[in-house]
Subunit: 263 residues, 2 copies
């Protein structure tokens, strides 16, 4: 039996059901390379559940999952994942491998950063179009800009996740805004300009979470503290969403009004 | 201080952080009318945290939130919400009212059904377009069909939530499929036909969760057990997503292949 358990966000994001499963498990693995989990401390979790947690790195999960599958064939195995499991393709792949070799699988969900970020900004989650990840410039892609342009034309909100390197180097919102300005210029677009109402969510789920909304150029010069960060570009705003951006994210009224007049 | 705490899904979906906050709160309210939480028992939670939980009904939250705000002005108040807080507009409104009267607010996130449903089906969450709710036929709307048609043309997945009446009467996936067939006919569309690959998620997060994918007409005749249910109409499928629908949701290979050839 292989149970995927979401760690949610922050040090105590796991659900009561997840904790109970961990306490009953024979073997516990944790995969901590697909996202940053601010404040999470694996040894604190080990003390809480009274057992050792094995680190599963990318190589083990993607190239050599036999150790995990062999354990799951005979024992009750928990596989811990930041956020909600199955957001990364690699977990779907592992679950498929397990199922194909006759191992029962199960998911205990965790809070996803996408849902948390929308809620922190007061933006309605059903109004988000598809999302994209902004890659580092040495691995460029026009996809985030294309997704944003398509969503923006429809009046939908766009969530842009920021790249994370294996060596735990995470892109900042400042770098991401610069990359989006570069794409706008290169593709001769008119969607993401210096004036564009943009939002930043830093450390969603942590005690020192920070949300900001303002003109993109203004945000590019601010300091949001340690990662993870993400960007949201709002589409058409309901008046409650506009109020939330002003009150919770400090968006200047005139920036929000300019955005609403433009849409 | 007013802290919105997500109950996540199922009886033990709340996070450790949420539970800790409840234990430290002076007053605890629970809003349980915006969604069904299968298996959740408020008296079990009361026993666990050793205090009474006050029920906040729609009238209290939307028309007369003064009781909650007055308490939050002087005390540490927790406001429990199914899933992730701020998904319903009414919570954003309450948070804005609190902030405007100088009350500090905070969110402790919970698992959202949208993220869980995508993960259960093995569909990538970043490929979902905007979502919609299918209302009961006495309150008809073409919006779910329009959202689906737009997403489908782009190759994006669509999540369709099902209406819930205050008296706790929840729409089934069977009814929802019938309503979508009706909209297809009325709007002379060609997106949601009897042959369309469709998925149903029933009781996401509960122990008896059920996921199915098949031709819409076939699903319309199946029994998924008690609500809540939701529908997902897949768009363009990555091969891992196609495999996941076959293995975890029992989609027949030929139905998935027909879908992929059509896209």
């Amino acid at each position: 039996m292989l149970t995927f358990i979401g760690l949610g966000l922050g040090p105590e994001g796991i659900s009561l059901q997840g904790l109970r499963e961990l306490q009953e498990a024979d073997v516990v693995y944790a995969e901590l390379y697909t996202s940053l989990l601010p404040g999470f401390d694996i040894s604190q979790l080990e003390r809480r559940i009274g057992r050792q947690v094995k680190r599963a790195d990318r190589k083990m999960v993607e190239e050599n999952p036999e150790e995990i599958l062999t354990a799951a064939r005979e024992k009750r195995v928990s596989f811990l994942v930041p956020g909600d499991p199955m957001v990364a393709t690699t977990h779907v792949d592992l679950r498929l491998r397990a199922a194909r070799s006759g191992i029962k699988t199960r998911i205990i969900h965790g809070v996803s950063i996408a849902s948390a970020a929308a809620g922190l900004l007061g933006l309605q989650s059903y109004k988000f179009g598809p999302s994209a990840t902004i890659p580092f410039p040495d691995n460029p892609s026009t996809r985030p800009y294309e997704i944003l342009a398509e969503n923006f034309n429809h009046g939908w909100h766009t969530m842009l996740f920021l790249d994370l390197r294996e060596e735990r180097e995470a892109m900042t919102a400042n770098e991401a805004i610069g990359i989006m300005f570069g794409l706008e210029e290169r593709l001769k677009g008119s969607v993401f300009t210096a004036e564009s109402l943009t939002a930043v969510v830093a450390r969603a789920g942590a005690d020192d979470v920070l949300v900001r909304a303002d003109r993109a150029e203004k945000l590019q010069r601010e300091d949001f503290g340690p990662p993870p960060h993400l960007l949201v570009v709002p589409g058409r705003l309901h008046f409650l969403e506009a109020d939330a951006l002003e009150i919770f994210a400090g968006a200047p009224k005139e920036v929000v009004q300019w955005h609403m007049s433009r849409r």
